[in-house]
């Protein structure tokens, strides 16, 4: 969980400084987000259990989008996440963000 709080902190900073929140979620498509989420839930347990990889169910959509943009630009550093984010465009990130925000977080 500690890692996730760090992520929250950075994401909040990014949210405030880099982009307006409504822009982050432009073009969001819930159905497309559900399809794209298949790549995420191989690692991020859909049951909301953190055994070494953070829970992303129920994460605030703007925070989610900020984090993914930070991985995309290299402002946050993790080889798997940077690879995942590198091929997601803004609409795809927004779609994932609204999908996971709607998932019940059970942690």
């Amino acid at each position: 969980m500690r890692n996730l709080w760090t992520v929250f902190f950075f994401a909040t900073i990014l949210c405030l400084s880099h982009a307006r929140a409504d822009n982050l979620l432009d073009g969001a498509d819930l159905g497309y987000g559900e399809y794209l989420s298949g790549e995420c839930v191989t690692c991020h347990s859909k049951d909301g259990v953190d055994k070494g990889i953070p829970v992303i169910n129920g994460l605030d959509a703007e925070v989610f989008a900020s984090i993914m943009h930070a991985y995309k630009t290299g402002d946050m550093d993790h080889p798997v996440m940077m690879m995942v984010a590198s091929r997601l465009d803004a609409e795809q990130i927004a779609s994932l963000a609204v999908y996971f925000a709607a998932m019940p977080g059970t942690n």
Binding site: H44, G52, I53
Partner: protein, 422 residues
Amino acid sequence: MVTKFSRRQFTGGILAGTTALAMPSLAFGARPRVAVIGGGAGGATAAKYIAKDSKGAIDVTLIEASKRYYTCFYSNLYLGGFRSYASIGHNYYGLSVNRGVNVVHEWANSVDTAAKVVNLGHGGQVKYDRLVLSPGISLKYDSLPGYSPEMHSRMPHAWTSGTQVQLLRSKVLNMKKGGTFVMVPPPNPYRCPPGPYERVSMIAHLLKERNPTAKIIILDPKPKFSKQGLFMAGWEKHYPGMIDWIDPDTHGGIKSINATSMEIETDLDTFKADAASVVPAQHAGSIAMAAGVTDGDWCPINPANMTAKADPNIYVLGDASVASSMPKSGFSANSQAKVAANHIRGELTGSRVYEARYANTCWSLVATDDGIKVGANYSAGPEKIDVVSKFVSQGDESADVRKATYQESIGWYEGITTDMFS
């Protein structure tokens, strides 16, 4: 937020709907049927996603002989004592109860592709509109001189998880003091490219604790292997002097294997083993051969949707498929299953079909808290699945990074098994 139909909806909707309406089964209101053969990372995931996302509109039957499925991934960690055997076993109740998948614990004997019927071991039949084949691998017994199914109990391949891995662990634990373990990895292509080398790492870990003067010899048919630099640096660091990797130029090839005398003969020498794991060459699971969708040892697929090149009604997932640069791994199979599931729903119910997106990451454990990983994501090219981007652990990473990588792999195991079975 605006929900819209995007540029990604390139084959779904009206087109697929028209196709579906032309099908007699739908015209009379019957539910379209999908049969899935094989309940591993490809098949279980495909069955789940088709059932879940179609919300009952598609009748899904999963054909899997085992009631309890032991994952191949993490079986090495059981060997090394990092996981219990029970912790890598899973059942199909979740798919049955939560998702409404009809789970049939039978062997699939043959497929009649003209009649679209799977014939089961005990005489029953499962009819399908679309068939998903995810049978994993079968072993090529004739790939090593002297190798035979009877040798499994003497020199376990332990390449399909389950009791073979239990047997291998007990053989390593019962080695004489200062004895020799011989590992014979398979030639390319094979299931789990880093697997033989993680296995050696885990056996070295076990021996370092209990039998520190023991030796491990790897007689490799390949001149190089996955994450080689990282593994070899790890062996030097954690198990100095214990592991000897011998490449084919040096040993000259395996000439014969004698399971009775526990001797493996090469041009270089005859190696006498106190315990051994011999993993032969592999081909697509036998049912894929029987279904006629193989070309040589493996099944060519269309990269956009994982349909077999030989039959548009059959999808081939995971180890059995020719997925070009995607390794034969549980992660790859799970990823391919989601692309296929999305396409099958589009074909049978007219739902939106999105572009194929594939991914894989393989974590390996070298020693306690020393995890390494390699991964890539992929897209569908016209002829093959192409790499989009990739990464691999670095040789100069700190102990903290390696520990975090191991912890991440535990999280991944939880994630993928939840994704497959719940």
